[in-house]
Symmetry: C2
Subunit: 419 residues, 2 copies
Amino acid sequence: MKKQQITNLKGFRDFLPKEKRARNFVVEKIVEIFETYGFQPIETPTLEAGELLKGKYGEEADKLLYSFKDRGDRDVALRYDQTVPTARIVTQYKNELPKYFRRYQIQNVYRAEKPQKGRFREFTQCDIDIFGSTSFLTDAEILACAYGSYKNVGFKNVEILINDREVLFSNLEKYATEKVSVMSIIQSIDKLDKMSEEAIVKELVAKGLKEPTAKEALKNIQNAPQTEILEKTIKAAKKLGIDESSLIFNPTLARGLDYYNSIIWEVVIPEYKVGSVGGGGRYDNLLNELIGEDIPATGMAFGFDRIVEAAIEQNLIPQKNMSTTVLVAIVDEAGFDKSMEVAKNIRKKGIKTEVYMNEDDKLGKQFKYADQNNFKYVVLVGGEEAAKNVAKVKFMDSGKEKEVQLNQIGEYFSGLTDE
Amino acid sequence: MKKQQITNLKGFRDFLPKEKRARNFVVEKIVEIFETYGFQPIETPTLEAGELLKGKYGEEADKLLYSFKDRGDRDVALRYDQTVPTARIVTQYKNELPKYFRRYQIQNVYRAEKPQKGRFREFTQCDIDIFGSTSFLTDAEILACAYGSYKNVGFKNVEILINDREVLFSNLEKYATEKVSVMSIIQSIDKLDKMSEEAIVKELVAKGLKEPTAKEALKNIQNAPQTEILEKTIKAAKKLGIDESSLIFNPTLARGLDYYNSIIWEVVIPEYKVGSVGGGGRYDNLLNELIGEDIPATGMAFGFDRIVEAAIEQNLIPQKNMSTTVLVAIVDEAGFDKSMEVAKNIRKKGIKTEVYMNEDDKLGKQFKYADQNNFKYVVLVGGEEAAKNVAKVKFMDSGKEKEVQLNQIGEYFSGLTDE
C-alpha cells in the first residue's frame, strides 16, 4: 500500500510513553488520596443524548459541543464536561447510591475550541465532588483531600485561596449603582491577581463608579472579615490536614461566580506561573438547574494538564517510571534457556525487564539498543556463564561488570537501591 | 427546572463505583505485569481523521464507524480499534520510538453495533504489541506476559491454545479442490471447539469434499506436528514463565486468519464458559496494508469485559476495594476537633476513611448510614472521649466496641489484619 501521511487531528494529542507515564504517575498519586478520603470512582459514556448536553453550558459553549446524528438518526454529543453526566448519574441511580455520595471521575472531555497554546479539543478532566449534603464538613473534606492530593504528587508548596461569595456580596452591594451592578464590581475586583489596584480602580471608574467610591469598595473588600461558614470550614480543613499557612482567606477571590453559592477556592502552586492548578466551590442549586433534581453539592476540578506540567517542571516524576530497567541480552544458544529464566526471575521482583528482541543481532548492537533506550543494566548469560551458573550484570552508566549467581539474580536486582 | 428523565444512550454503559472498582482492579493487575515486561503505555485521541479509519476494517465495519463532519467540515471518526491509531503512531513518531517498540494501550473504542447482550457501542480494548521484530522471542514475550497478567488478576487456571497458520496450510492444502478452497476447509475445522467431529465432516461434505477426504483431512490436521517456529516459541515462553501444562499446541486453531501470518493463540479460562478471554498472533504485513509502512508486529488483545466478568464470578476482586472502611462519626461539639484529627491520622495509614457529612444528624442516623454503605468501623470521639484522649471504635459486624488511644489510632487501624 502507498504510504499514508495522515497525522493526528489538530487540537488532539498523542501521548507517547514518557508523557503518558507522567500522566499515569499524577493520576496514581491523586487517586491514592481520593481513595483514602472515601471518594468512589465512576465512569460515564463518551456519548450522551444530545438533549442532555445541549443548552446546559450556555450559548457560547453549545457551539463547542461535538454533536452529530448517529446512524439511527439520534441526536448525540461527546462529553463536554463531567458535571452534567454526573448530574444524570446521581438522578438516574438515586436509589443505588449513598445518601451522601463522594465520587471522583477522571475522563476526557471534548470541545471544538480553536486550537491554541495550552488549549486542546480533547483533554482530561479530574473532579471530586460530594453530593447530598449542605454541611461545611463536606467543603472541608474536599479541601483537605485536594491539598493531600497535590502534596502526594510531590509539590512542596501548595496554597489554597478561599472565599465565600457572601463576603463579596455583603461587602460590595452598598457600592452598586443603577449603572454599575454588584456583579460588575465583583468582576473587576476578581482581577486583582492580574492587575494593580490602580488599574482596578480605573476600570471601576470607567464603568461608572466615582473614584472615592471605587477606592473605598476596594479597600473595604480587601479588609472584609470572614463569614462564620468560612471560619468553620477553614478550621475543620486544617484539622483534617491542611498546613496552617496553606489555606488562605482571600476576600477578593470571585471565580466567575456563575453557579457557586457559598464557599469557593482556587489552588495555586507558587512556583508554577501559568495559573491556578485547580478550583471549586459549593454549588447547591446547579443540579436543580441542570436536571431538575434538588441535590446540594460541593466539589472541585483539578487542572490535570497543568498539574502534569508543573510536576515535570519540578522533576517530580520518578525516573524509574520512565524507562525499562534491565535488558536481558541474547548471547548464544548455550545460554539461551538460562537467559529466559533470568528474565523470569528478575520480573518476579517487579523490576521492568525486556528480553532483547532479535537473536541474530551481535552483542554490540544489543548494547547500542540498551544505551539508546536508557536501560540501566544489561544481563548476559552465555554458555560460559551458564556453565558456571552465573549471570554477568553490566552497569550501563559506569561500564562496570559484576557476576551474580543465577539463583540470586532476582534478589540481587531488588537489592539495588537505585531501582 | 422541570425534572429530566434522560438516561444513558442504548448500548452505552455507566459504571457505578462497584463495577468501576472491579474494572480498575483488573487494569491495575494486568498493567503491573505489562510494566515488568517492559511494555510502555501510549494514548491516542478519541477522534481521528476520517480518512485514517475509513476502509481499514472492511466494508461491514465501515458501517459501524462513528463518523461525522466537525464544525470545520472535516471528516472525523471515533476510534474503532487501537491497531490503526497505533499504526499511525509507529509511523508518525518512528524516529522517537525504540527500534523494537513494546507498547500497551487501554482505551475505549466505539462501534455502532446493534445493542445486544454482551455487545456494547463503547467498550474497552486492552492490547499489548511488539513492533519492529520478526523474532519468535517477541511472540514468546507476549505469551509469557499475557499468562502472567491473567495469573496476576488471580485466575488459578489459564490456558493458552497456540498454533501456527503454517500448520493449517501445509497440512490441509492437499485436500483443497477447485470447489473447496483450503481457506474454506480451515474455516470449518476452526469450529471444532463448538461442533462435534461428525458435524464438521458433514459440513465439509456439504461444501463439496468427499466423505473419506473430509475425514482424512480432519484426522490429519488433528495429528499435525508442530512447526519449528512453534517449538522454539513454546519452549522460550515456558522458560519465561508459562506453566508446562498451560501452553497447549492446538493444530486446529485458526482464529479467523484474516491478517495473521504465523503464530496465533487464544486464551481460555476453563471455568469461564462464555468464550475465550483474549487472543492474538503475529501480523507482519498488516502495518504495510494499513499505512504503507513495512513494520513487522506481534501482539494480542485482552477481552477486557470478559476478564472483569470472570474475575467477579471467581470472587477475585478484593472486598477492601469495594467500600470505604472507616466512618468517623460526628458526636458533639467538644469532640469535633479531635474527630477531624482522627480522620487525618487513619488516612495517613492509607485506610479509606469518611468523615460523616451532616453534623446535625443524630448518631442513630450516622450508624444507619454506616450500615447501609458497608463501613466496617465507626469511630466516635465525643467530649467524653476527647477528655480521656481516646476514640471509641465500633465494629459494625459484631457490634463490639473498643477504646483506642488517640495517638495510636492510625497504628491501630493499620494493624487490623482484615483491612
